[in-house]
């Protein structure tokens, strides 16, 4: 689990920050990796103690940051739904993508810069997960993106493309809600989104799409991320609209500029 979160971290920050920050990431990886290594060795000795500590820390964090909306007993309030049984996966997804704690009420909780450290996030989800069972943090074997991309692509077209667009470019839903673009989303978050169904997204449980097939979908999305568009600039994968704008503005624009130049009086 430790490894998976740190590799996640790497991919996400690689997307966000320019290449110059690679050095920083390496340092970060080494230190978090080292810390985790230490932590896990210690944990094997005193698992229950560590777990209790985490739960306790999580409970404090929750009371301070989340309880106003979700209630101290997790049962929910006017301002937020009940978190009983949402599972560790849901909390990890919501908090590690920056959606929670929710900032202002809008049509849908927006992604924001993440507000907690990895340990704090772990504490939070361990705490919520300890209150009632629910979907847990996904197994690493499904997150390696080494499945069947073709099968994943087909499943994606059938189950996800109507909201997220075939190329994962995102799309509009009703009342200002939208399905976000899936470029650069980490394997873990893709998996968690499927099992927890954040907000307007349906839940795809294991009967619906088996864990192996979820891995295939992740493989496909990773393929799209890692392979640049074969035809050149992708224009945001928005399809004919961006192509039409492009031909009018740049294609015809260039040609009209040339005709004006050609017919200009030479003086």
């Amino acid at each position: 689990m430790a490894k998976s979160t740190s590799s996640t971290q790497k991919r996400r920050s690689g997307r966000r920050s320019p290449l110059a920050s690679i050095a920083l990431i390496v340092v970060g990886l080494l230190s978090t990796g080292g810390a985790y290594a230490l932590f896990t060795t210690a944990a094997t000795a005193e698992t229950t103690v560590a777990h209790e500590q985490l739960t306790e820390e999580g409970s404090k964090l929750f009371a301070a940051n989340c309880a106003t909306c979700h209630g101290l007993d997790l049962a929910g309030t006017e301002a937020g739904p009940s978190l009983i049984g949402v599972g560790e996966a849901s909390v990890e997804f919501q908090v590690a993508t920056g959606r929670m704690p929710m900032a202002q009420s809008g049509p849908q909780a927006e992604e924001k810069p993440v507000q907690f450290t990895e340990e704090q996030i772990e504490a939070l989800y361990t705490y919520v997960g300890a209150q009632a069972p629910g979907p847990g943090i996904p197994d690493e074997e499904y997150l390696a993106a080494d499945g069947d991309a073709a099968l994943g692509a087909e499943l994606f077209r059938i189950n996800c493309a109507m909201c997220h667009n075939v190329a994962g470019a995102g799309g509009a839903l009703t009342e200002g809600k939208f399905a976000p673009s899936l470029t650069g989303v980490s394997a873990q978050h893709i998996y968690e989104a499927m099992v927890t169904g954040p907000q307007n997204m349906p839940v795809f449980n294991d009967e619906n799409i088996s864990p192996e097939d979820k891995a295939n979908i992740i493989t496909y999305l990773t393929y799209l991320d890692e392979n640049p568009s074969p035809g050149g600039l992708s224009l945001g994968n928005l399809g004919p609209v961006s192509e039409g704008l492009f031909i009018w503005i740049f294609g015809l624009g260039a040609i009209v500029a040339i005709t004006v130049w050609l017919t200009a009086k030479s003086n």
Binding site: A161, A167, G232, G239, G244
Partner: protein, 551 residues
């Protein structure tokens, strides 16, 4: 290198370019001469070459838009021929086994598989596909802009009404070519498009279902449609298109070009470069420029990434599904119809949500097609026109054009309502409702604003023609009075400002029986509407008078 060509037949200063030389011809020249003579004796082509070769092209940039369309069509033909060598127009299911990993082993039609092979496994194939598709988008776009030029300069007026109609047919054919071509790869996106067409056809009362079955050879999607579209796309439509294009160009030569007013440019001549040799050389160069721009775009920017879309399958539909831009207005019309308009009568559902856009767009298109005739009837103008109007000098027409463009633009925007919603963080409902309102309000506003702007510009022109323009130089007169010196235009500049015709509303007269029919009354009303607001052009007496009175 300017030359003139006459409309009336009386030549005015045409420069001959056959200068007899006393020099002994070289071997090469003798050979060309003999070859030309050989061909001429057998085909009498010299008459044609003389006629065509002396055609004069005016030199305003907007007159080159039609050429852009022509050249992109040539590019389409060339790249399309390449594609036919490898494309397989069949819906036989095959298992894809090419190099694109995320589709390996997926079952798809042979059409889709061969399109993927063109994209990934045939050398230069992807470039050719992209050249073909980008050129098609440019083709329709340049036709559109060309039509706007012709419209706003009134170049469709007598004797060119027929050629407007033929040009319009070319535009429709270009869109049909585009749509059939877009459907050929049998990918998910175009399949969704075909499904919409199927739905629209089925929405036509009584005949719809039958027509749909006829078209698709059974229930949608069937196993026939791709090969049928292919025949349309590479045989029938191009054949009609080329024929219509031939007539279009022929009429262009017969009617000659319009031109903007200017010194020496009258209603009876055309001033510009003759087609041979200057224009032909320029045009040849320009062809390669257009070709170059298309290839540059095709080499750097993806178009229609069918590998992302995957093979067609009736169940999945992608978010953000749109047609190519030129079909967008129809898609937009469908998106803007409010829900719940369909009703059931005698057990048949009448799909008003489809019929309203069909009829509405049909009317819009018909008005575009027949506008020259409608305007001629309203204005009663039966004169020949060879001088292009400056748009401001025909305020009502320009305003009508602006309203039409706005109407089209709103429909067009509606086709991307979902992208507007996600990219500007607004809800899709508010986008749709705004566009619904704009569809009716915006054209009216555009009409009024354009008309006012045109009239204001005309007034300004009149001012300048009469009094010159403000030079910014302040002079103090001996009496202590300050005046700003107005600089007079030279005669060439003034000519451009004053030479346009003045129109007056039709006077409706009683017919032989002393009655005025309702139709005539309507016509009179329309004509008044068309011409009632106008600024008279400056006459020479006006100018003289103003020169006498001032400075």
């Amino acid at each position: 290198m300017t030359s003139t060509d006459t409309h009336a037949g009386t030549t005015t200063g045409a420069t001959g370019n056959a200068a007899p030389s006393a020099v002994v011809p070289t071997r090469g020249a003798r050979f060309t001469g003999a070859a030309a003579n050989y061909i001429d004796e057998r085909t009498s082509i010299s008459g044609l070459v003389k006629e065509v070769g002396r055609k004069i092209f005016p030199d305003h940039w907007s007159f080159m838009l039609g050429e852009v369309a022509l050249y992109s069509f040539v590019v389409i033909l060339l790249s399309g021929t390449f594609l036919t060598f490898f494309f397989e127009a069949s819906m036989v299911p095959v298992e894809y086994d090419g190099s694109y990993v995320p589709l390996k082993g997926i079952e798809m039609s042979a059409a889709m598989a061969s399109s993927l092979d063109i994209s990934f496994d045939i050398r230069g194939g992807l470039l050719m596909r992209q050249v073909h598709h980008w050129a098609a988008l440019l083709f329709v776009a340049s036709i559109g802009l060309h039509m706007l030029r012709v419209f706003f300069t009134g170049a469709y007026r007598k004797p060119r009404e027929i050629n407007w109609l033929i040009g319009f047919v070319l535009f429709i054919l270009a869109m049909a070519e585009g749509f059939t071509g877009y459907s050929l790869p049998d990918d998910l996106l175009s399949g969704n498009g075909l499904r919409i067409i199927d739905g629209m056809v089925k929405g036509i009362p009584v005949a719809g279902t039958w027509v749909s079955y006829l078209l698709f050879g059974g229930e949608f999607p069937g196993t026939e449609i791709i090969s049928r579209l292919y025949v349309l796309h590479i045989l029938i439509l191009p054949a009609i298109l080329v024929a219509a294009l031939g007539v279009h160009l022929l009429l262009l030569i017969i009617n000659k070009h319009t031109q903007f007013a200017g010194p020496g440019k009258t209603n009876d001549n055309v001033v510009g470069a003759p087609i041979m040799p200057v224009f032909a050389a320029k045009a040849g160069g320009f062809f390669f420029i257009v070709f170059g721009v298309i290839v540059l775009i095709a080499a750097t920017v993806t178009i229609n990434p069918i590998w992302n879309y995957g093979p067609y399958d009736p169940s999945p539909v992608s978010a953000g599904t749109q047609p190519d831009w030129y079909i967008g207005f129809a898609d937009g019309a469908l998106r803007l119809v409010p829900p719940g308009l369909e009703f059931v009568i005698f057990g048949f559902t009448v799909s008003m949500n489809i019929l309203i856009p069909l009829v509405g767009l049909g009317l819009f298109i018909a008005v575009v097609a027949f506008y020259p005739f409608i305007e001629a009837w309203m204005t009663g103008d039966k004169r020949e026109h060879h001088i292009a109007d400056r748009p401001r000098n025909a305020p009502t027409r320009t305003a009508i054009g602006a309203a039409g463009v706005t109407f089209y633009a709103v429909l067009w925007a509606a086709a991307s309502s979902d992208l507007i919603a996600t990219h500007f963080y607004v809800s899709i409902e508010s986008v749709i409702h705004t566009l619904q309102a704009l569809l009716f309000i915006a054209p009216v506003v555009a009409y009024q604003v354009t008309k006012r702007v045109c009239l204001a510009l005309q007034k300004k022109d009149r001012e300048i023609a009469l009094h010159g323009f403000e030079s910014g130089r302040i002079v103090r007169l001996p009496g202590g009075e300050y005046i700003e010196v107005h600089e007079q235009l030279d005669d060439y500049e003034r000519w451009k400002l004053v030479s346009y015709n003045e129109y007056k509303p039709l006077m409706i007269r009683p017919d032989a029986n002393g009655k005025i029919s309702v139709l005539q009354r309507v016509r009179g009303g329309l004509s008044t509407w068309f011409f009632e607001d106008r600024i008279s052009p400056v006459t020479s007496t006006d100018i003289e008078r103003s020169h006498d009175s001032s400075h």
